[in-house]
């Protein structure tokens, strides 16, 4: 190879050095080999400065070698694949790869926002929250919004094929390191079905590392484990840079789970520990063994743990002798022999890192005796002890705690079917690890086979020595590298009262985001204990939550994108609507016509024409989505009295009554009409979108609160289709359909129902109106709906009939001031707010929500009340969402007035030739006639508060 890779010293276990690939990183070409990661290729090419920190834009290098990496994030592009915020340590190197560091511009070497670091003192812990208090949030908001977030989201179509999969096994072993493989082998040997998962390795068929009978799932990260043994995992089926990338989201079930998830090395706290070239010692060893890459030519090891000596030995063997080992422990290594060729400075802590011209030049240190010194070197490798990877155990319900007096990390109250082994259990000795893993595998197999619980403690006890406190320049000691949290931030947070570990996390963002505290949590806990003079046991680690590792949204959504985002219901007469030129929209989970534009007609023109047709002739609408529930039983009337604001038990058979359903807080849940079909049977109508909620409430109340009531509730929505005929000529149209139902105004008055035949179909007809015109809802069997629809249009041709959509319906009901739950109500709306106060007073029997309606809060006269608004200038438009302000604040002044309410519905009324609007305004009903300002998106309009009913206030038309 004639390409320079100054730090590539050996072939490396995972790379194929016979092939050379090129990639562009931050505009510069680097080379690497198949098997490299982006991180290892960067290091091999001598690139140390790879990122800028999140908050202060400090130069950053690589900290780790796999999921513990918390600095090096890139936006990458390879062929059609674009991915945002990938870890350089996890993303494979690929020929033609283009990568750009996030959070810097134009690049990490020269970053325009690096100046932010100079103001670090002005951005302490809780800075973001403090901007809410002083001087004011809006001052900082534009800048913070511009700076927030990492990476650039791609809007191009995602070429990845995301596949959801499910499987079940007797035992699932997470982690295919030595302990995991041994545990899987032991379990499989006992005749149970075993799945072995690893997030880093890929397994070939007949992989010699895996025992026969063990199924493998490589390149798969487990995201969550629950108490019952269900796991969610993300598999990268193909390499992410494959021409046809393929990923899977697995839902797995296991009777028993073995966690062999290993441990991650912690960083050490010393000034400037975030400089490029300072990394975890275990990561340096990983780069050397897997990729044949040296991270420094003359590294300095800083440690409080024996494992650094093993790294030093490996480096020596690779021809890269460490400059020195700075050991915090006065006694030096406990178990390992010192290396004769490597000087050990025992009982010393680093007091500074010399970083000049983009490279580390050495460190200064101070011994416990107070003497100072320095060591020259071009890299610093930290080894601050090991943190077991217990996120999955915590997800499964175990409570992690640091126990006194020896400070061991414990998982308490874990489920009995989860067994931890290997380094995740604190086992580091090779022989002991073999025994431990085999025991875990055997216990898991026994549990899976017959539920045998073992004496093995399913959780763990891992020694966790208290991290030493380094008193030098706290503001330069980074605890959380990803979120730029320093020891000084922890100190400030505790001074400001955030002395609980969960408060500290939220106040400083320590342990949040991608890193999830992998390298920082125990260090932070030690600092918190130091600053509060409390024990770590009393403080405890913060709660760990899923997902354990970042997962693409595409994988989480697997199978639920686009049309599959939510079930979409199609109307029975869908083909007829399409043929009539309908424009559709989703409404309450149904794909419904919003209008039927004709020829070159605009959408708005179509809506106005349709609304006028209903007012002057007759319109037809398919209303099949209306919820239809049959409530039957000897206690049906009693039940409905309890769940509706209105009294339904007094409703005679053959009649219909409007009702409001409330929750326990007196908030409006839904509305609809109820028809009494028989003394013990009611048809309850709901809104289209409210059906599921109403049904769930009915079942809950019947099964949990009133199991003594003899009532059955059945959803009939899917079985029935509905065609609504409405307008002055509606009756005439129905008469032309032919049938045996008497339709005269006296024979079939408003709010009554009849059963018989119409248009040759068995039908149940409800005379109810949402338009203010005479209306008939014709219910037929679902498969007869399309024929009835066609028949209505044909029969009404000479009456001027036209289909109308939801937009026209909304216009018509707004003219009449009819309530639309969801538009004119919100999660605080009570019946009195929308004009049903008298019903509450009249109803003496108890019903759900009644007690809340009698509280003083519900009786306040300044609650937002439903009123109508009429613009002073009839040509002025009114829009839903606009704020209603006090009078006298026209123009630019208006925006500074406090809002007194908002417009909840607004439409142009072709009948009245002006906009009609419903609004919720504080104390609105007492303010009829008052002129207010309506402010919307910079435009202020004068409007008068009027009655909600803008058309036919006497209601004569609907009963005609």
């Amino acid at each position: 190879m004639n390409e320079p890779q100054p730090y590539r010293r050996a072939p490396g276990r995972d790379v194929d050095t016979t092939r050379l690939w090129r990639a562009t990183v931050n505009g510069e070409t680097i080379v690497g080999h198949p098997g490299d990661t982006l991180a290892s290729a960067l290091l091999a090419n001598g690139v140390r400065l790879v990122a800028r920190s999140f908050k202060y834009h400090r130069p950053r290098g690589l900290l780790g070698a796999w999921t513990e990496e918390s600095c090096a994030f890139f936006d990458v592009r390879c062929g059609a694949r674009r991915e945002t915020n990938v870890r350089a340590t996890e993303w494979p190197f690929m020929d033609g790869l283009v990568a750009r560091s996030v959070n810097c511009w134009p690049g990490p070497r020269v970053d325009a926002l690096a100046a932010v670091g100079r103001f670090a003192a002005m951005m302490p812990a809780g800075f973001y929250y403090k901007t809410f208090l002083w001087p004011r949030w809006t001052l900082f908001e534009p800048l913070i919004r511009r700076m927030a977030g990492l990476g650039r989201l791609e809007v191009a179509p995602d070429p990845v094929r995301y596949e959801p999969r499910r499987a079940e096994y007797d035992v699932i072993v997470v982690g295919a390191g030595r302990a995991g493989r041994l545990a899987a082998t032991e379990a499989a040997g006992q005749g149970v079905r075993v799945l072995l998962i690893d997030d880093r390795q890929r397994f070939a068929a007949g992989d010699a590392r895996v025992a026969p009978g063990v199924t493998t799932l490589g390149a798969t990260s487990v995201l969550h484990l629950d108490r019952t043994g269900r796991l969610v995992a993300h598999e990268r089926v193909s390499e992410p840079t494959s021409p046809s990338p393929h990923e899977r989201l697995w839902h797995l079930e296991a009777r028993a789970v073995v966690l062999a998830t290993g441990a991650i090395e912690r960083s050490l706290l010393f000034p400037d520990n975030d400089r490029p070239g300072v990394m975890l010692a275990s990561a340096a060893l990983d780069y050397l063994v897997r990729y044949g890459v040296l991270t420094a030519n003359r590294p300095i090891l800083a440690t409080n743990d024996d494992s650094a000596y093993g790294v030093a030995g490996a480096l020596l063997e690779a021809g890269c002798p460490p400059a020195a080992i700075v050991d915090l422990r006065a006694a030096g290594p406990a178990l390992r022999p010192t290396l004769s060729d490597v000087p050990v400075i025992a009982g010393a802590e680093i007091t500074g890192v010399h970083y000049r011209a983009g490279a580390i030049r050495g460190v200064t240190f101070q011994t416990q005796g107070g003497s100072r010194g320095s060591v020259e070197g071009d890299g610093v490798l930290m080894s601050g002890g090991w943190t077991p990877q217990l996120q999955l155990l915590a997800c499964a319900g175990a409570r992690l705690a640091v126990s006194p007096p020896d400070g061991v990390l414990e998982g308490r109250d874990g489920p009995p079917n989860v067994f931890v082994c290997g380094a995740a259990r604190g086992v580091r000795d090779a022989l002991e690890l073999e025994r431990d893993a085999a025991d875990a595998g055997a216990c898991a197999a026994a549990f899976a086979r017959d539920g045998t619980t073992s004496s093995r403690v399913p959780a763990l006890r891992v020694p966790s020595p208290e991290p030493p406190f380094n008193p030098h320049r706290l503001a330069r000691q980074w605890v959380d590298f990803q979120n730029d949290v320093t020891a000084a931030d922890v100190e400030l947070a505790t001074r400001e009262g955030y002395a609980n570990v969960e408060h500290l996390k939220r106040y400083t963002t320590l342990g949040m985001a991608i890193d999830q505290g992998r390298t920082s949590q125990l260090n932070a806990l030690g600092l918190l204990a130091h600053f509060t003079q409390a024990s770590r046991a009393a403080l405890g680690p913060s709660r760990l939550r899923p997902p354990v590792t970042p997962v693409p949204f595409g994988a989480l959504a697997a199978g639920r994108t686009g049309l599959q985002l939510a079930p979409l219901r199609i109307l029975p007469a869908h083909r007829q609507h399409v043929a009539a030129g309908a424009r559709f929209e989703e409404h309450g989970g149904w794909w419904r016509p919003s209008a039927y534009p004709r020829g070159g007609e605009s959408f708005d023109a179509a809506v106005r024409r349709e609304a006028l047709v209903v007012r002057t002739a007759v319109g037809v609408m398919e209303a099949s989505p209306l919820g239809k529930i049959e409530v039957r039983g000897s206690d049906a009337a009693e039940f409905l009295d309890r769940v509706y604001l209105q009294t339904m038990s007094t409703l005679p058979v053959g009649r219909i009554r409007y009702g409001l359903m409330l929750d326990e807080r007196g908030i409006i849940l839904d509305d609809g009409v109820t028809a009494r079909l028989a003394p013990d049977c009611f048809h309850v109508g709901t809104t289209s979108g409210g059906l599921a909620r109403v049904l769930a409430n009915f079942e809950e109340w019947l099964q949990l609160d009133w199991p003594d009531l003899r009532v059955l509730v059945t959803d009939m929505t899917a079985a029935w289709g509905v065609v609504t005929v409405t307008g002055p000529a509606a009756r005439a149209l129905l008469e032309r359909l032919g049938g045996d139902i008497a339709l005269g105004a006296d024979a079939f008055p408003h709010l009554h129902w009849r059963v018989g035949h119409l248009g040759g179909q068995p039908a149940r007809v409800y005379r109810v109106s949402y338009t203010g015109e005479p209306s008939y809802e014709i219910n037929v069997r679902r498969d007869a709906t399309a024929a009835l629809w066609e028949r209505c249009l044909e029969a009404g041709r000479d009456l001027g009939v036209a289909p109308f959509g939801l937009e026209a319906l909304m216009t018509l009901r707004t003219e009449k001031g009819y309530l639309h739950v969801g538009s004119d109500t919100d999660s605080a709306t009570q019946p009195a707010d929308v004009g049903f106060g008298q019903v509450i007073v009249r109803k003496t029997r108890d019903f759900i929500g009644r007690r809340s309606l009698l509280l003083p809060e519900a009786r306040r006269t300044d609650r937002p009340q439903l009123i109508g608004l009429q613009a002073v200038d009839p040509a002025a438009p009114l829009a839903a969402g606009a704020h209603v302000l006090g009078a006298g604040g026209g123009g630019e002044l208006a925006r500074h007035l406090p809002s007194q309410g908002w417009i909840s519905s607004a439409y142009y009324s072709p009948q009245l030739r002006r906009y009609v609007a419903l609004a919720r305004v504080r104390g609105g009903r007492e303010r009829l006639g008052e002129t207010v300002e309506v402010y919307d998106d910079g435009v202020s309009t004068a409007a008068q508060i009027v009655s909600p009913v803008a058309f036919d206030p006497e209601g004569r038309r609907v009963v005609a």
């Binding site: 596949e163 499987a167 079940e168 199978g559 083909r575």
Partner: protein, 196 residues
Amino acid sequence: MSSLEPLPSTHDFEPTPRGFTAEGLAVQALPAEGALSLRLPRIASTEWRRRTGALVWPEATGERRSSDGVEIWCLSPVLWWLFTTPAALPPLAAMIAEALGDELHQAIDQTSALAGVELGGARAADLLAQGIALPLARLSNDHGVRTLLGTVPVLLCNEGAERWRLRFDAALGAHVSHWLWQAATVAGLDPAERRR
């Protein structure tokens, strides 16, 4: 939802499910069926079973039994569904009403409420496993279960070797068709519309 992605040309919205084929897979819509839902008392006597003559009733929730062209599902101790041909349903409903008398709390003709599809082929179970949480391998012919396909409530049964039936809200026919089509695509199959 303000806008929707363009639909695959083979899956324009239809009120009924549409069939397609792929390697190791055939999906076809079920013909129209008569369907009847029954609500019975929480603690029913055994007498009513005898009174319904030749009908074979399941013994437990999640089971189904077939006899004389009538398939009966027990979805809970108080909720039962019967499937037969549309023509056979009215006399069957009348017979049951008469036989059960007061023990029948509610009988509702659900004939037009449901639609269905049948999946056949070696890959059918793989496809269903993308959206169904139940261990499909454990479902025998005698099982008839109410579950979710993705987010859609379905009635699922195994019709024998590599054959499965799904019944669902008729209004969701297009959605289920599209789900199956998408699942086949994601699974690396190459679905093609069945000629109508």
